[in-house]
């Protein structure tokens, strides 16, 4: 005898259960995918912040090392690690005068002085910290050459990272050492990846 085929199809309750299960799975997957997308964006910010920090560190450190020892600039009457307020910006200035008596064969240009100015916005407008930048300049034969590392604009081929700003800048010259300790802060990253931590002896002899 041939077995009867089941031609009844699905009942409404079965379809409802199936749909609700599928809905729950899709909803949970949606949340996972959205979270992953956020993580990916944060990860790209992280890489850009690290690149920005490394660029600034490398430039400042290599110029200081190229100077092969710094003269105590207070003897020359220069400003050393001063702090001030201009309009709504906090400015930290570090001026280092290199010891000119030492010749440096490794570099193509002899550096006579380096001036680092860090502008810290006290108030950022909708995440755009336009006045948040490091102005970095060096003096060579009475001509001033400068680089500006802005944290917002793309003018200098640096990444555009919204909401990135300096949250602390400490600069001091003490016990024959110059210390620059500045932290860039991003709401999603904190300052874990973006601390500029520079310690250099002012004079060649330790």
């Amino acid at each position: 005898m041939i077995k009867k085929l089941n031609n009844k199809g699905l009942t409404a309750i079965e379809i409802l259960i199936c749909f609700s299960i599928v809905m729950v799975i899709v909803m949970s997957m949606f949340k996972v995918i959205t979270n992953q997308k956020d993580k990916q964006t944060i990860e790209s910010y992280k890489n850009e912040v690290i690149t920005l920090k490394n660029t600034m560190m490398k430039q400042i450190e290599s110029d200081i090392e190229a100077g092969n020892g710094l003269k105590n600039s207070s003897t020359l009457g220069a400003t050393v690690c001063s702090e001030g307020v201009e309009e709504d910006k906090q400015i930290i200035t570090a001026m280092m005068i290199f010891n000119q008596s030492i010749t440096v064969p490794e570099v193509s240009y002899p550096i006579e002085g380096v001036n680092i100015k860090i502008y810290k916005d006290t108030d950022c407008n909708e995440g755009n910290c336009l006045n948040n930048y490091i102005e970095y300049s060096y003096l060579y034969k009475d001509n001033m050459y400068s680089r500006v590392y802005s944290l917002y604009t793309q003018k200098f081929e640096l990444p555009k990272i919204p909401n990135l700003k300096f949250n602390f800048i400490n600069c001091r010259i003490q016990d024959k050492y110059i210390e620059l300790y500045a932290g860039l802060n991003h709401p999603d990253l904190g300052n874990k990846y973006s601390i500029i931590d520079l310690v250099e002896p002012i004079e060649l002899g330790f």
């Binding site: 450190e61 090392e65 949250n167 050492y177 904190g190 300052n191 990846y193 601390i195 500029i196």
Partner: protein, 187 residues
């Protein structure tokens, strides 16, 4: 006429397949999860600021011509603190105070002086109580530095302490960073 099998899967069949699939997922998870931790740990290895700091220590050692008793049989000296490093017999007179000042500025928490090639160093520090766990992991992650093109006699491996302020989540906590450079440490 052949009968159609409409019975579906038996419970035991479903269970076996489920256990098998679960086993595979567990295997994948246990293999990949430590890699995430490893990746996060390596973010603190040879960061640019740590390498520059190590270069300042290298310049201090070379400028003051400080030498350590490193031999092939004794390929590493572990200094658990910057104080023990600066008070070692290799430092004389004002070098000790200058060294301590430098170490405090750089926030050095542990320092190893070793041979340039660290093949034997890796064996020496394995489960060595004098060496911190973080330092041991870092040294093991390094290459052996077999090719010594410039004939550098020695290497310093340094651990730095840094306080991180995560405004968004974890608050203030300490992070240890590591870096190494070749330095002339013995004759």
């Amino acid at each position: 006429m052949k009968k159609i099998n409409n019975k579906g899967f038996a419970l035991v069949e479903t269970l076996i397949v489920s256990v098998f699939v679960l086993g595979i997922f567990t295997l994948i998870y246990t293999n990949f999860y430590p890699l995430i931790g490893e990746y996060e740990k390596r973010e603190n290895y040879d960061a640019i600021e740590s390498v520059y700091k190590t270069n300042v220590i290298k310049r201090f050692i070379e400028y003051n011509n400080i030498k350590f008793n490193i031999t092939t049989t004794n390929p590493v000296i572990i200094f658990q603190s910057s104080e023990s490093f600066c008070n070692s017999s290799s430092m004389v007179g004002s070098q000790k105070t200058n060294c301590q000042l430098l170490m405090n500025k750089l926030r050095v928490s542990e320092i190893l002086v070793a041979t340039y090639d660290i093949t034997n160093v890796k064996y020496k520090i394995d489960n060595n109580n004098n060496c911190s766990e973080g330092m041991e992991s870092y040294v093991k992650s390094l290459p052996n530095y077999k090719n010594n093109l410039y004939n550098i006699k020695g290497r310093i491996i340094v651990k730095y302490k840094e306080t991180v302020d995560e405004e968004s989540s974890e608050g203030k906590y300490d992070v240890y960073k590591y870096a190494t450079l070749g330095v002339d440490l013995y004759d």
